[in-house]
């Protein structure tokens, strides 16, 4: 395969297009590898789909244009899970609940808890367990 890149897409459906097999077309027509983190697809309601797509930059761009033909807001820079730097006290309660190590003790000496958004799979465990409400979900 020629040079492929991985890109995170956050698709916000003001009203769900649940009759359209969007993922099928991303795989079949644009040769993308898709990895869905989370989705809410219920008829007649606002929905979302958060996924990683891997493919050539050209195919990813074309796929985004295809997705945009539906009533969808495509966000390629969005953060599905954010950490409020001010509210985080760096206690480290989250680190054993984070399955990918996106939240970890980044510095052994200062015990600072770092958050690497690129490693986050949006399981929302941190949102549930943080005693300070420092982690929040976009959806």
């Amino acid at each position: 395969m020629s040079d492929t890149i991985k890109k995170k897409l956050m698709l916000d459906f003001p009203r769900c297009e649940c009759e359209k097999p969007i993922l099928y077309h991303l795989v079949k027509d644009y040769d993308l590898i898709v990895n869905v983190f989370r989705a809410k697809v219920t008829p007649e309601e606002r929905g979302y789909l958060v996924l990683d797509v891997t493919g050539t930059p050209q195919n990813i761009d074309r796929a985004i244009e295809y997705v945009k033909t539906f009533d969808v807001i495509v966000n390629t820079t969005g953060k599905g899970v954010t950490r409020d730097e001010d509210r985080c006290t760096h206690c480290g309660h989250c680190v054993t609940h984070c399955p990918t190590g996106a939240l970890r003790i980044g510095d052994r000496a200062t015990r600072e808890v770092t958050y690497n958004e690129a490693e986050c799979i949006e399981c929302l465990a941190c949102v549930r367990v943080c005693p300070y409400g420092a982690c929040a979900s976009a959806f």
């Binding site: 760096h90 989250c94 680190v95 054993t96 609940h97 003790i105 015990r111 005693p131 300070y132 409400g133």
Partner: protein, 396 residues
């Protein structure tokens, strides 16, 4: 040998040598105990974490006409008003009126007493609602008003128990996820949580209460306060290592300080899923290096401090006293401990990051001459043990 007066003179002249409890061990290893004890004046200790036994006394001043509050709420959080007319006590773990608690388990506990205290210190506008039965001298029966901390005559933090000397390490041997004040514990020992600043923690640096006693000046969330008593559940008579370090809870401190002088960064409401609300506080306590022995105590390292691993799935709630294992803080801070052959990832409820920040802030204040040390008026007991609550039949 140095006296408190000599140390305070050096602080006042801006010449005091101050190190944090995180730095002192390497310093003493390099210089030797004797030379270091002559040179160093103060070692700063600190901790930051949830401290449930915290609260504050507030005085609202009098309305026109006057009211003797008999029931009162701040932001719908009940405050105790069984004291004088417009005095109330606000406790850190009080839930907000209408909070479903654990009715839909696990409850979220988004707002409560600890959050009101955080909002007060942050200068936010809060709602007071109070009722009264009315008296000749206090005729008003109801009041609803909005205030900030600056409108209050006094806002005095009065915490019955802070700074536990050492603490349990929590694990879950059961086959269900449990929600505790030690955080969320996954079933079958999938994670383990501790809550102590270890080698930086105040009472672990003064294990026999030689300098920290009633009247000791402390840094409480940025305000200059005091130890006003031994803390509740203080139990000086406990099992200790050869180095004097308790291997379980042991000593506690009751702390007080003016909330109007506190820094919001170190006063944080806590929501513990499935458990309740609390308040996280930052505390810093300076230790005067009076002699070599006092300095030696401050050189305690994480590896020298052991804590008991307790099963919160069964043994803790049933108060059996069973200890699964002993681990030290160096093992805990490595991120993984081995219990009965199993490697378990470690989480923490206490922030070493914030504690380190506090130890350095306090050290800077002392170096600048802005924080003087005080000699205890009375010492904390070393000989008392903790008594259980016995459910007895009514005596004949």
């Amino acid at each position: 040998m140095k006296t408190y007066e000599e140390i305070n003179d050096r602080i006042e002249s801006g010449k005091a040598v101050v190190l944090t409890a995180d730095e002192i061990m390497d310093y003493v290893d390099e210089k030797g105990l004797e030379a270091a004890a002559k040179e160093v004046d103060v070692v700063t200790t600190a901790t930051f974490g949830p401290m449930c036994s915290s609260g504050c006394v507030l005085n609202f001043g009098h309305s026109k006409p006057k009211i003797r509050m008999s029931e009162a709420w701040i932001e719908d959080v009940l405050v105790y008003s069984g004291v004088a007319a417009v005095d109330v006590f606000l406790g850190a773990t009080q839930l907000r009126h209408g909070d479903p608690a654990n009715m839909y388990h696990p409850g979220e506990f988004r707002y409560g007493g600890g959050h009101v205290i955080e909002d007060l210190v942050a200068g936010k506008t809060l709602q007071l609602f109070a009722l009264s039965y009315g008296t000749d001298c206090y005729p008003k029966r109801e009041i609803r008003t909005y205030f900030t901390i600056n409108d209050l005559n006094q806002a005095i933090m009065t915490n019955p128990r802070n700074c536990y000397q050492n603490y349990n390490v929590a694990i879950n041997n059961s086959d269900k996820t449990i929600h505790t004040y030690m955080g969320t514990l996954e079933p079958n020992r999938k994670n383990i949580n501790y809550c102590s600043a270890g080698q930086l923690s105040p009472l672990l640096n003064d294990p026999l209460y030689e300098t920290i006693g009633v009247g000791t000046k402390v840094w409480l969330a940025g305000a200059h306060g005091h130890v006003y008593s031994e803390g509740t559940q203080h139990a000086g008579a406990c099992e200790r290592t050869a180095g004097g370090v308790p291997i379980g809870g042991a000593g506690t401190l009751a702390l007080t300080a003016d909330m109007k002088c506190m820094l919001p960064e170190f006063v944080r409401g806590v929501s513990l899923r499935g458990y309740g609300v609390s308040l996280a506080l930052g505390v810093g306590i300076p230790i005067p290096i009076l002699n070599e022995q006092v300095l030696k105590w401050t050189c305690v390292r994480d590896r020298d401090i052991k804590a008991p691993v307790i099963d919160y799935g069964y043994e803790y709630p049933q108060n059996t006293g069973k200890v699964v294992a002993q681990v030290n803080y160096e093992q805990l801070r490595s991120g993984e401990v081995e219990i009965e052959g199993e490697k378990i990832p470690v989480g923490s409820m206490s922030s070493y990051y914030k504690a380190l920040k506090i130890a350095n802030l306090l050290a800077d204040e002392i170096r600048r001459g802005d924080f003087q040390l005080s000699k205890p008026l009375a010492y904390l007991p070393k000989d008392n043990a903790m008594k259980p609550l016995v459910a007895r039949e009514k005596p004949a």
